[in-house]
Subunit: 403 residues, 2 copies
């Protein structure tokens, strides 16, 4: 079978760990698998290079940033190849260019456009283990090095797995899979064996350290079986992220996610004239602000209250955008002492009463729900941040996720 | 005019120094010159990467070593480009591949075979300053990254200067030129304004820190005007290394070189049979030992004494090789307490009495000369190492090099 393995910065963070990674690869190889491994830069390297660049310029030329930042992954790919050769295995490094990864020319944030697999296929059929420098490609129009932005090495792995029709794409980090909730909040959290792409996307905050949504979306599109597992405990199986059809007997609820990085914007006494909501949310979208939850309630007089949440990082942009709407309401306030708790599960589609269970749990603990929004496979609630851990634990218990 | 500038590891050793290099480039640019700068890795980086590799293997795969080591120069080229862009100049980095440098496939020690200048010429005519990652190219047969071995960045600069028909190729280090002798030995040593390629080659030990013979040889072959100067004192002019014809009124003696890294091998009472010398030196050549000076003297009986020198680093190889000849002489000994002092100057060709002046100086100081060898532009003497500094100072004075 053909395995695409991806090792993140922490997994290759020291020479000792690179040796550990070589052992993981050797084990698969000895079992007869073909292997393409994608590696990140050693942890800390990319940040060091960014610091170097910022020493010269706060807005360094992006083409040059790509030349600069792509070097870290090249180093790791060569070192891992050397380690594998020393173990008696035939390994070859490949830069993004050599792996045939063609991208758009949006430097520092390029998208993969095409993968020319011939070089890799030749190497595989010559019995080579391929170590690809992740996070990078070469632009279609000027043949310069590009990088893929955050999570770019994961993306490289998923894209290669798709192009090579690999049997599996394993993403190695220092976390051994996806849990029903954050184990630091709820020690009874359990590792999931399998989860669907859509659930994974909704549970992003649980897996944020592990998998970027961009990679999960690409895995879903290319139908790549993704595994999240740890290079520190390679004997542990990890979590398979796959098509819903591949999951027999999906549980009603798969996990509880917590997102503390939201701000609630409250507009009170909005003059209820047609088009006001549209004008506000168009302005926010134009400012590239990702509005998450929206709720509108009618007051006693002819005004409404409008609440919505935006990412904490966008607070200043949001305030600037909202200046234009100050005359449309009595008051606008911003509350960052809130959080979003989400219950996720594909099983919800075919089960009733899932939401009411959540509200019951919140009521029992006297937790006031500010905003509720639901989708086919998710129920999200905005609550006061001080109740965050309590809410997660209560929900984890009421849906019996520790069982 | 088109300038090729090369900045070594010390010249780009810190972010501050990279900024200094950017200022040097800006000054030339502001004066209207076209510029191709070749950069080394930041000092210490290459050694760090070699250490990393040796942590995995004492004989790391050479293809992977090239992938690994070529990254340091890429980093510097990107950083310098960023610094230049910040100064409002249009700069672009180029890897060896992008600069069109095609090499043999002897990884870690490749030779430049061809330079495809089209990419560089396009960039120059578009008004760009080009910053080339030195020390690297791409192999003609498999298109993988190669490195050029020791002094590879100098070689890159000279080869690019030749291919682009640059007006000048300036090699920047932390030394501001070539001196009549080592100023640490003779404080009266003077910086040379001009020197011929051949003199430079013979004075290698004076310029070893500054210029590798391999680069001087290529400069001679490609007729590149080479300048040795310092990035720390860019206002100082440096030394021009050029064709003999370009040097009017060459001095009789240009400099005094000292080489402490020689061992004298003495064979006493060699049975004088035909072919014995040939057999010895063929064996040494086959062992890749670079024999420097040879002298044979006839004794009173039918035997001869044979003395020759080899580089200190080759002592073990030499001893191993000489085992086969133990029966051909009464005794073989090895003396590392010797040194070679050389007087170099193209003017010697047309002047008599240069050598006798040297012998007079040695005699005056009671320095015994072990071996003498002369060429058209050089007189070399092996003397006891303890007289090294004294001999250099005496010769420097007798040829009036401080004037």
């Amino acid at each position: 079978m053909l395995r695409v393995l991806k090792f993140g910065g922490t997994s290759v963070g020291t020479l000792e760990r690179i040796n550990g990674v070589a052992q993981i690869i050797k084990k698969f190889r000895d079992a007869g698998d073909d292997i393409v491994a994608v590696v990140s830069a050693m942890s800390g390297e990319t940040n060091k290079l960014i610091e170097y660049a910022n020493n010269f310029s706060q807005t360094p030329n992006e083409i040059e940033m790509d030349m600069l930042l792509s070097s870290g992954e090249r180093v790791t790919s060569a070192l891992l190849s050397i380690a594998l050769n020393e173990l008696g295995l035939q390994a070859t490094s490949m830069s993004g260019r050599e792996a045939g990864i063609v991208t758009t020319s949006q430097h520092t944030n390029a998208r993969i456009e095409d993968i020319n697999t011939s070089n890799m296929k030749d190497a595989i059929s010559n019995g080579k283990i391929i170590i690809v420098a992740g996070f990078q490609g070469v632009s279609a129009n000027n043949a310069r090095v590009t990088t893929l932005g955050r999570g770019g090495s994961d993306l490289t792995a998923v894209a290669l797995a798709g192009a090579l029709k690999a049997d599996i794409c394993e993403i190695y980090t220092d976390v051994d899979g996806i849990y029903t909730t954050d184990p630091r909040i709820e020690p009874k959290a359990k590792k999931l064996e399998k989860i669907s792409y859509d659930e994974m996307l909704e549970l992003a905050s649980l897996g944020a350290k592990v998998l970027q949504n961009r990679s999960v979306e690409m895995a879903k599109k290319l139908n790549v079986n993704l595994v999240s597992r740890s290079s520190f405990t390679p004997e542990v199986e990890g979590t398979l992220i796959t098509k819903e059809e591949n999951i027999m007997e999906a549980p009603v609820v798969s996990g509880i996610a917590l997102d503390r990085n939201q701000i609630r914007v409250g507009m009170y006494g909005v003059i209820d004239k047609p088009g006001i909501a549209s004008a506000i949310f168009t302005a926010l979208a134009d400012a590239d602000i990702n509005v998450d939850m929206i709720v509108q309630t009618r007051g006693l007089d002819n005004t409404t209250n409008l609440d919505f949440t935006v990412p904490t990082v966008d607070i200043e942009k949001t305030k600037t955008t909202m200046i234009a709407f100050e005359d449309d309401s009595e008051k606008i306030d911003y509350n960052d002492a809130i959080c979003k708790v989400s219950i996720v599960g594909v099983g919800m589609k075919s089960h009733t009463g899932v939401a009411s269970k959540a509200f019951t749990a919140m009521a029992k603990d006297n937790i006031n729900i500010n905003i509720i929004s639901t989708s086919e496979i998710k129920i999200s609630m905005i609550i006061d941040e001080k109740y965050a851990e309590l809410a997660v634990r209560s929900l984890h218990e009421i849906y019996e996720l520790d069982k």
